[in-house]
Amino acid sequence: MPAPHDILFRSLADPTRRAIFERLCRQGEQTVGALTAQSGVSQPAVSKHLGVLKEAGLVRDRHEGRQTHYTAQLGALAPLIDWTSQMAGFWQSRFDHLEDLLKRMDQ
């Protein structure tokens, strides 16, 4: 496996770190404090995880006063993902919903 993949996989291998990254994907920009409050680990631990994610290019930080804000950089995942298969997965799940709906329309 090429080196950039190794770095991405390694940085996302840790469940706590992955949870932080997923939260940034879902909720947009977050401060370290907000991420700590939801993570169940200490702020220094969260900061360390964010450092690893930043090194992998998965997050970007922005300083504002005493706060540091982090955002997910989805583009960093591009080497890992074939978006056409992502989109196919999206439609498969929508078709599941469609079939459920058609069943209900019978009643």
């Binding site: 978006w83 056409t84 999206f90």
Partner: protein, 143 residues
Amino acid sequence: MNETSAKTRSVIVEREIPYPPEKIWRALIQPHLIEEWLMKNDFKPVVGHSFNLRGDWGGVLDCDVLAVEPNKTLSYTWNFRHDDPAYNLASVVTFTLTPTRTGTHLRMEQSGFRPGQKQAYGGAHAGWQKFFANLEQVLARVD
């Protein structure tokens, strides 16, 4: 990113559905039904009608109705505007319904993905969980 050509790519999803085309057609064109299986919308089955699909992740897709052939074909644009060309998505979604002995063959083709496409908005939300599940499997094999 498996392809490096300049051509755009398509996603095709097909399914046999045990209901007649007329019934599936209703689910494809009635806004309150579309909302139940796809997204919130202000769709009208009128060629040229512009509408939005609003995903529960906050994304809004710009769509224009291209073709309406009752119980047979429905086509509309599926566009996500973004300043970064790598994230900008201009695609066309076409549903084709073909009656079969047991119901309907439903085909969805989404075309227009460019090889450099970084994001497929609309797919991202549903795709994340699958992606992370896949990732865990890959990780299990890496060690």
